[in-house]
């Protein structure tokens, strides 16, 4: 395998792994957050406005970790710096 193939294989495999594992943690966390918010909504319906607002902000915070992983896999696939470097090297030869 030449260096291009290695870079391509590594980038694609790691992109999939990044999104896969990166979505797992936030999924668990969001599930727990929503479950807790629902039970507190059932206990205190009066505080629904505060609970919902805090829940949304918290969910966005949690979700952003998954989004970071997604952005990294998108960079690996569509704007890979190592790939561009290898292509520039190849063109220079």
């Amino acid at each position: 395998m030449d260096s291009m193939t290695i870079i391509a294989v590594a980038s694609i495999a790691i992109a999939g792994l990044t999104t896969g594992f990166g979505c797992m943690g936030p999924a668990f966390a969001e599930g727990r957050a929503v479950a807790t918010a629902l039970s507190s909504l059932a206990q205190q319906p009066d505080a629904s406005a505060t609970i919902t607002r805090t829940l949304f902000v918290g969910l966005a915070m949690i979700e952003s970790t998954a989004i970071y992983c997604f952005v990294i896999s998108m960079i690996l696939i569509f704007a890979n710096p190592f790939w561009n470097h290898a292509i520039a090297n190849l063109a220079g030869k």
């Binding site: 949304f56 902000v57 966005a60 915070m61 989004i67 952005v71 998108m74 704007a79």
Partner: protein, 235 residues
């Protein structure tokens, strides 16, 4: 497939470049400003008012309420900044129903610019409300040991805000583009509808986070505990 609207260039001459992000931002600004001018020039305080005036009043009072609930005591002072953030991001995300439009918030340059506005606004309002000593004291709030962490959190939360909005909008466009190649008819529409919801939620989150950071910076006394979720969390 483009990663963002930045790669879609209309016109280029040397260093100056007019890409889709800038063009659509200008269109949005024109629509917002012209629409606001069109509506507000016929404002009345009588009982019979136009439905557009009702709409604007609902939006403005809603934003004011939300700002006040976060813990900022004089919401009118922050209405200009936070309301603009919300309206711009919401309009940018809602315009995705227009065919051929690419949301400028799907480009990291736009979202980073918006986040930098918040980054500048926090010390601005903090200095105005608490003075130099009071504001600088907020950096060493629990102990002096926390100073580097407070500074890091200030920078990283700005970056997090930018990447969050960018990632959400970019992933929405990307998923629609991928689905178009797999299942052309029904699912892209469903995902676009979901993207509208995500866009509104992200606009809300973006402005609420800005309000939370402002509230954390401008609180002169800790007598009134404000609901500030994730005040110094990094992401």
């Amino acid at each position: 497939m483009r990663l963002s609207a930045d790669a879609w260039v209309f016109w280029q001459q040397g260093f100056a470049k007019l890409n889709a992000t800038i063009a659509f931002t200008w269109v949005l600004m024109a629509v917002l400003v012209f629409g606001a001018w069109l509506i507000t020039r016929r404002f009345t305080s009588e009982h019979r008012r136009s439905r557009w005036q009702n709409l604007v009043e609902i939006v403005v009072t809603g934003i004011l309420q939300q700002i006040e609930q976060v813990g900022l005591r004089e919401p009118r002072k922050y209405l200009g900044f936070l309301g603009t953030l919300f309206l711009f991001v919401a309009a940018a995300n809602l315009f995705t129903i227009v065919p051929g439009y690419e949301p400028p918030t799907g480009s990291l340059s736009t979202t980073l610019a918006l986040a930098l506005c918040t980054f500048v606004a926090v010390p601005f309002y903090g200095l105005r409300d608490r003075g130099l000593r009071g504001y600088l004291k907020s950096y060493i709030e629990p102990t002096v040991l926390m100073l580097p962490f407070n500074i890091i959190s200030e920078i990283s939360r700005t970056l997090a805000m930018a990447v969050r909005l960018f990632g959400n909008m970019m992933s929405g466009a990307m998923i629609v583009a991928i689905l178009l190649t797999i299942t052309p008819f029904i699912f892209p529409i469903v995902m676009t509808a979901l993207g509208l919801l995500t866009g509104m939620v992200q606009a809300y989150i973006f402005s609420i986070l800005g309000a939370v950071y402002l509230a954390a910076a401008t609180h002169s006394d800790t007598a009134q505990p404000a609901p500030t979720p994730g005040r110094d969390s990094a992401s």
